[in-house]
Symmetry: C2
Subunit: 231 residues, 2 copies
Amino acid sequence: MMRQPLPPAELDRNRHAAPQVFERLRDAIISLALAPGTVLSRAALAQQYGVSQTPVRDALMILAEEGLVDIFPQHATKVSQINLLAARQAHFLRRALEIEIVRTLAEAPDPALIQDLQALVDEQRRALEVNDLARLSALDQAFHQRQYVEAGVMELWVLQRRHSGHIDRLRHLHLPLLGKAATILDDHQRIVDAIASGRGEAAETHLRRHLSGTLARIEDLCQRFPDYVRR
Amino acid sequence: MMRQPLPPAELDRNRHAAPQVFERLRDAIISLALAPGTVLSRAALAQQYGVSQTPVRDALMILAEEGLVDIFPQHATKVSQINLLAARQAHFLRRALEIEIVRTLAEAPDPALIQDLQALVDEQRRALEVNDLARLSALDQAFHQRQYVEAGVMELWVLQRRHSGHIDRLRHLHLPLLGKAATILDDHQRIVDAIASGRGEAAETHLRRHLSGTLARIEDLCQRFPDYVRR
DNA sequence: TGGCTCTGATGTGCTAGTATTTTAGCGGCG
DNA sequence: CGCCGCTAAAATACTAGCACATCAGAGCCA
């Protein structure tokens, strides 16, 4: 029997079991606490969380749809290798969505939106000054999410997040994010300004450069950590 | 006990049951054979297909993720109302993806791609001449899918299809597609020409007009069939 | 008559357990 | 020595069934 590196804390019996198992497994996989290739025994997981196999099975089925685990029928379920093709497609998805979003928003800039985005950029600036990376990351998410909401496509934000598992795992291989933070902030500021002044093309240009940074890091990481990555 | 308007044919015992149940239910929902609001009893469906409740449950869970059924915890599972917001977001998703695709393809047009697309357009023209609507529809799908494949994002084609359930149901409310077929063909031809000559902006323009036709029909249908639509 | 409470029926979420399928590993044969 | 087939272990897909949550509707009260 293998040791399980997962948090052993018990589930909340007042909530449904399956979503909780899903969340825990997803966090563990994305943080690489469960390394690619790890076999996920349904029976073992069920015992570990103190539930039967059905909620575990439900969780694993959802994870399989996101591509975070591979289910080999009648045989085994394993944490998937990081898939470069899947990561590229997830990045394509995000790029396509956010370009269309900034173009839409720039057509009729809403002052309330601009105010919110500017506030988020300013807060990011303060977080950078005190080197609070966790807060910086959260604010970055909020900055982009705010635009989905304004465009009336919040479900597409959720969709995009649900398909970013491979990218998120790559991000966890790449701790020294700090050097790029100033550049990211500049990009954000330029995007806000372009939307505010109704320059859709300019917003698209800045967004493309902003996201291309992520893509470059992806390709780089895949070369430096070939064990985790399936080519 | 209500009558079930589903095909009673038995399942293939050599394939897994859950995916078959899923496919049948999805087809029935999208074709509106199962009207929005219909209660889907797990026990009844299990009996109907000659399987136990688990594969039915699996199928219903996937359908719920696509938004085609609503699961009310501990109470009931129903075919969802057609959701205009979801349809708009699915349309936004498709528009964003295909615009980014044609722009990418126009940057470095591949002769083999152009040849395939042109062949598909020509075949559509022939199908239109003999009023073969089913074939026209299939060729339309193939035309767009071919571009996803060329851009290396076939999984995003699948993703886009999986989220088009609400739109597909609206399409089934709207039989007289024939009037627009010639316009659709013209759009396709212009998109091919624009990609072939490397004019990304032009391709985007034609694609936008092409897709805006669909969106206009969506809004129209929602007004004409208010019973099925949740606003 | 209108609104609140309680009860019963219904159905989901989960538990327990069976059966079929897959694959690793071993032994024999060419 | 290498390839093929057999065997057995293990995991998934499925079957059967229970328990608690939810809601419709009857009955009671104001």
